[in-house]
Symmetry: C2
């Protein structure tokens, strides 16, 4: 049992005296007793309350409950609490506008508008507990493999990675940008420390209102020295995914609630960009109303029976300046990781030669003189290296089978939404 | 041995065939053999090269080295590699302007200007390996205690926490702010999940150029339901610190290099704000050229022999609107954590009553109508709760005994510095 598993096991309710802080999810009122289901930070618990002695708190209120947890054949979880004291911790001014223990039927917009209270719903609770476990799996896996964690700045002066989708910040008497990813910094750090990862926000000023785009999301990034080629990076992602699924398998209540499956093994097909296009043609999955990635995902599902897919060797014009060119002219040592045809990660080997890097920058319309700090790493030499970045919210969406990435985003940021 | 310790142990060099990517730190040239010290992602290693068979790479270059690691009485670490192949992974255009294996004597400004290469110095390497371990300790401790990790947005619409030090962002046709901390979001999340933590950037548009201020740093934040009072929060910080020191005790090479001590136990004195002021008077540590916190730190050192100190019960006008008032009028249920008189953390119990919260907002000159998302959490009730935030760079600075917080910041952001 590793540390994640033992911590998880430790944080369950146990038989014996207990004193918990919780929200009241449901109240079933009987003649002498009331049966509450409350949710505390160790999950749900049934509470038996003697109405002759104690007052019943309203649904949605926060309470501190003391009593004895005993085994019970009637309770779903096999345990319940015989309550000896209940105290409201604050008097709510209103009842929750959504049920706490059933899927919310309101529009996603309303759910996000009232995020402070919609997050108290069981299903949201399940999503974000699982998301936390996925983030843990990422860091545990990389730490296990000898990576160290870095924190690179989000306020960036000088040149960005390219593309117009950059937020501008007033920085004293200057202008700064918000980092579109930790790319340039994690490469510098890779030159210093060899193997690095970062978990942090990334910002995209893209005016897209689709079910898969956000203007701010959580990047899971890593960068490492390479011995062979970019397949080492796909190996790392595969091992991360295996660990994430192992952690998620502990979340039985959440899996039942959200209705998602855990594949028993992770073996992800790897095909070249050309092979992907041939598969789309073979299975006829290209349609005008969906992205090319979706068509590839459907074709791979038909061909391999796999929701997961690596596509590698993209053309140069589809990838940023820092990606290593392949031996085949016009192509690159890059890959995407698709789940059900949704891109959840991009990565690849990076250029480590200063002259080639400057040449590729210019070809992409960037001015090398705007990147003195980045390029100085290459001036003093750089190891053969590569890396990848995943979007935590998209990974969560895919593994949990959610329809919209907003469902796996704690507080959504898109072109229309900046609150709460 | 917990997971951190076993991962740490796993990532050391072992006797046997090896294939490593590393930077050449030093070259000692003898008649037939050359002795290199290289640093790969598993640390330093002495390499023995037969000059009749292999070419010696320049200091500062990146190499891939293959050979056999054998035990050696002559090498400091007890092992060395008999090298069978060396290949340069890129040809550096210049030699590093700093030594890689000795403290850099240049000014801090120059070191930060040339961060891409100064990070390759041994001492920097040691600092950031330790910092990664401190971050690991924070998350491991909180996960062990049943907390889940959240990711709150850094782009914020509407009201911020107060104070003028907010960066403004052009957000499509609107204006957004950069979050000064995850405060308001972690409170909302605490209402949903009970125990939450976050590791992420925080932004302060403060025009201060001191040795302890940054405009962007890494916040270690947590928020939890409370049973008793804010001493539960100090308990958590104490346990985190204990775990951090335990992890750091594994880093023998880094401790030797940086020359810092690990206290054998963590028992932090806790005194009230009034008691702190009395101590300053008693020991006469208040001087015009240092902060009041420094004076308190010196007095506590004289009184308790402790570098670490909790001061609790600050006056209302020194703390933000959301801090719970004490039973003693004009004071609050808040605390600071000082190390050598440097504030590395602030925390406290929070107000969980809507009416009181709105009253305190108004008293601090904030308009409640600018915080609809935050206040709606309180409208539907909130548990008794509190939390704290630590600055990772300051914690690292203090534990490692560094003079300036910039030394423990990977890429520094202050009013004058936005690059690299």
């Amino acid at each position: 049992m590793n540390q994640f598993e033992s911590s998880h096991a430790r944080n369950q309710y146990e038989i014996g005296a207990a004193d918990i802080s919780a929200i009241v999810q449901t109240v079933r009122d009987h003649k002498r007793f009331a049966f509450l289901v409350v949710r505390g930070d160790r999950g749900e618990l049934q509470i038996v309350v003697d109405k002759s002695k104690l007052e019943i708190p309203p649904v949605g209120s926060f309470v501190r409950i003391q009593g004895d947890i005993v085994s019970s054949e009637k309770a779903n979880s096999g345990i319940e609490m015989q309550c000896s004291s209940i105290a409201l911790t604050s008097k709510p001014a209103a009842l929750p506008p959504f049920p706490l223990d059933k899927p919310i039927e309101a529009s996603l917009d309303l759910v996000l508008d009232l995020r402070a209270v919609s997050l108290r719903n069981n299903y949201s609770d399940a999503v974000f507990r699982c998301q936390s476990a996925i983030g843990n799996a990422f860091r545990d896996q990389l730490h296990y493999e000898g990576f160290i964690e870095i924190h690179s700045p989000k306020l960036v002066g000088g040149g960005t990675e390219g593309g117009a989708d950059v937020f501008k910040v007033a920085y004293f008497d200057r202008e700064a940008s918000l980092a579109q990813s930790p790319q340039l910094y994690k490469q510098i750090a890779c030159g210093a420390f060899g193997k690095v990862y970062e978990v942090g926000p990334v910002f995209r000023a893209e005016n897209s209102n689709t079910s898969r785009h956000l203007t701010e999301f959580t990047g899971l990034d890593f960068e490492t020295t390479l011995h062979r080629d970019q397949h080492e990076l796909m190996d790392i992602e595969e091992r991360f995914l295996g660990r994430a699924l192992k952690y998620l398998s502990l979340f039985q209540r959440e899996r039942q609630l959200l209705g998602f499956d855990i594949p028993s093994e992770v073996q992800i097909p790897r095909i070249s960009w050309q092979e992907a296009n041939q598969l789309v043609e073979k299975h006829g999955t290209s349609t005008p109303d969906q992205t090319h990635d979706k068509a590839i995902g459907q074709a791979a599902k038909l061909e391999f029976g796999s929701r997961f897919l690596f596509v590698y060797g993209y053309p140069e014009d589809e990838k940023p300046f820092y990606v290593m060119p392949s031996s085949e002219p016009g192509f690159t040592e890059s890959f995407d990781f698709l789940v059900d045809g949704l891109e959840v990660s991009s990565g690849g080997e990076r250029i480590n030669d200063l002259a080639l890097l400057e040449e590729r920058m210019k070809a992409k319309g960037l001015a090398p003189e705007q990147y003195p700090g980045y390029l100085s790493a290459f001036k003093y030499g750089m190891p053969k290296h590569g890396g990848a970045g995943l979007g935590l919210e998209r990974v969560t969406q895919c593994l949990l089978g959610l329809h919209n990435v907003r469902e796996s985003t704690l507080f959504v940021r898109d072109p229309r939404r900046l609150d709460p």
